[in-house]
């Protein structure tokens, strides 16, 4: 190549992607070394902050509670739940839909925003993906714990067996098994693949023999060769391309659990997009609920800037408006259908015994998120944290409302009954929150919570004084 091309290459290497936008994304004055030291420091050198210990203790206590409750349910059976006909689905399915929805924002950030070339995702994608994996783990537990005999849940998976029976492939419950397990596997592979270069950094930064071995094995002997990077980039893009339709399919399949039935309030074509939008809505709320304390405790304001909070809040507002639109559309379609049962369901939902849930949903998911139109609620951490918590609660309540209000008044008035949650129901929900907090605390302590190599891509390299010259 002639010298002119070399010049061109050099100038291209100076113009790192998003170099112009770097000041807003990453605070000025950051170098490769400072970023690496900062993120590795959480794991290798620094003592953990008090809030981390508090989160660990909280998570461990509630996880112990979860173990106890699960043991009790395995021993005594699902009669410990508040469910009874006609409300056969109670907290367990509510929690399942809630948790799996939370996971969606992580995949959206890691996969969809990667395909869209959104550089700002680079410093939040790692822990958003971790959130996805832990949320799906919590979610996956509930359908199993909701089975009459949880220990034979594997009968839902087709395999040659001596009973000569097979699952029913026309059932959305079987689709669900495939959708959720595929989602978990693909998210895990994507997360781990993205972490390999950072695990190699930890291997090279680690001082203790134990840590060197652990991270050395976990990074598969990564050495940053261009051949490796090329394959890594290709695999990441392909996984992102696969995960993007997957994330839309998962909550669609979850919504099929409802829509394939003939129940008023469930049997509706609006459900798949409604569920997906709600999932992303609650997922971004969880991303912010995790990011805001981590940002302040670990002093990550240089990497998680106002712009990240602002962007997440805007996405939350946008998906929240889609959710609000479907809330408005539901009464319209039931009125337009002219179906007595449909219209009764809408009326009963707003005025019946669960009216508090309906109006709570409207307040939490429609009214309060409108605060996000104001910039101060998008960039001031405490205010944004408050709105996010409200949305998380509202989205849980929404799933509770969908399940219970549709079931408690079925076609036969003689079988009408109300649902009252028991101690077991509550303990299982709080236990799953504890498990999530515990897993997340361990993740923050032992794995790089911010993708170092992707943050490096956003940084201009101040050559030749970048600190690498001896």
């Amino acid at each position: 190549m002639p010298a002119g091309d070399v010049q061109d290459l050099q100038s291209r290497s100076q113009r790192r992607p998003d170099a112009g936008a770097a000041p807003a994304l990453i605070a000025p004055g950051q170098t490769f070394r400072s970023i690496t030291d900062q993120i590795c420091g959480f794991i290798l050198t620094r003592k953990s902050p008090l809030l981390w210990w508090a989160a660990l203790a909280f998570g461990m206590l509630l996880s112990l509670n979860l173990l106890t409750v699960v043991t009790l349910i395995l021993y005594r059976g699902v009669g410990l739940y508040g469910i009874q006909i006609p409300v056969a689905w109670g907290f367990a399915i509510t929690n399942f839909v809630w948790w799996i929805g939370i996971g969606h924002a992580g995949t959206l950030i890691s996969a969809f925003l990667l395909l869209m070339n959104q550089g700002w995702r680079n410093s939040i994608n790692r822990f958003a993906e971790a959130m996805t994996i832990f949320a799906v783990m919590c979610a996956g537990m509930f359908p199993i714990m909701h089975l009459g005999r949880p220990w034979i849940f594997y009968w839902l998976i087709p395999y040659p067996n001596t009973m000569t029976v097979q699952p029913q492939f026309r059932s959305p419950l079987v689709w669900d098994i495939f959708a959720v397990s595929t989602y978990f596997t693909v998210s895990l592979l994507f997360w781990y693949l993205g972490m390999i270069p950072d695990l190699a950094t930890l291997r090279d930064k680690a001082k203790s023999r134990w840590a060197q071995r652990f991270y050395g094995i976990a990074c598969w002997g990564w050495r940053g060769a261009s051949r490796h990077w090329r394959l890594h980039e290709t695999a990441s893009l392909l996984l992102a391309g696969l995960a993007t339709p997957l994330v839309l399919s998962v909550h669609t399949v979850v919504s099929f659990d409802f829509t394939i039935s003939i129940l008023p309030g469930w049997h509706s074509t609006i459900f798949p997009p409604y569920f997906v939008a709600g999932a992303i809505f609650s997922g971004f709320a969880m991303v912010l609920v995790l990011a805001i304390p981590i940002r302040s405790v670990y002093h990550l304001d240089n990497l998680l800037t106002e712009r990240h909070l602002n962007n997440c809040a805007k996405l939350m507002l946008a998906t929240g408006l889609i959710v609000a639109y479907t809330y408005a559309l539901e009464p319209f379609t039931s009125w337009y259908s002219g179906d007595t049962f449909e219209m009764f369901m809408v009326h009963n939902r707003a005025t019946g015994p669960y009216a508090w849930a309906f109006w709570g949903v409207i307040a939490c998911n429609v009214a309060i998120p409108q605060l996000l139109w104001r910039r101060s609620f998008r960039v001031r951490p405490k205010r944004l944290f408050f709105v996010s918590i409200v949305i998380l609660y509202g989205m849980w309540l929404e799933r509770y409302m969908i399940i219970v209000t549709a079931l408690h008044r079925d076609f036969l008035p003689s079988s009408w009954a109300n649902f009252v949650a028991t101690v077991t129901d509550n303990a299982l929900l709080y236990g799953s929150i504890g498990l999530f907090v515990l897993l997340f605390a361990l993740f923050v302590r032992f794995l790089p919570m911010i993708s170092m190599y992707e943050v490096r891509e956003l940084l201009p390299f101040p050559s030749p004084a970048g600190g690498s010259k001896k």
């Binding site: 070399v6 290459l9 291209r12 290497s13 490769f32 070394r33 690496t36 087709p158 097979q166 029913q168 492939f169 026309r170 959305p172 689709w175 495939f178 959708a179 595929t182 693909v186 592979l189 693949l193 270069p197 950094t201 090279d204 930064k205 050395g216 094995i217 598969w220 002997g221 990564w222 050495r223 940053g224 060769a225 261009s226 051949r227 990077w229 090329r230 394959l231 890594h232 980039e233 290709t234 695999a235 392909l238 996984l239 696969l242 995960a243 997957l246 399919s249 099929f256 190599y453 490096r456 891509e457 390299f461 101040p462 050559s463 030749p464 970048g466 600190g467 690498s468 010259k469 001896k470």
Partner: protein, 176 residues
Amino acid sequence: MSGRPYGILAEFGGPSELLHAAEQLRGRRYSAMEVYTPYPMEEIEDIIPAKNSLPAMVFAGGLVGAITAWTMQTYIAIWDFPINVGGRPLYSWPSFIVILFELTVLFAAITAFAGCLSLASLPRPHHPVFNVDRFKAATQDGFFLCVEARDPLFDARRTREAIEELDPAGVWELQE
């Protein structure tokens, strides 16, 4: 260590210096080169080209997943365990679409992960470049280039001189 030369490793001050050096060595007809960087540098692909068969592998993996899902569901629903639901056809393919999609994605994703590592010849916990203590910087802020001994033009003395002309921050001779 067998004492056979593996190649000559050099560190450069930054990404542009590294690209410049790779370009110069390429101009001298060295072909067996590899660079080691702390983040993916797309620019290097023009200098060190390599074919990438991962997309084709992933496509094949997805295809295998789709065929598996369709075959499994059709076989079970029609022959292995037919269920008559109100006289509806046994081959009710629209209800097979969901699992067909899921298994396509699952097989393709597993192929992408396993293919990436196997094409990169990983896991490989030991490698000649790891013998250089300074190489630890390659995963942090160091930019390295290695001319490998399998290059037909490789000559321990002359290659080293060629690299030293390019103002590296350090040069090391590697042995297998």
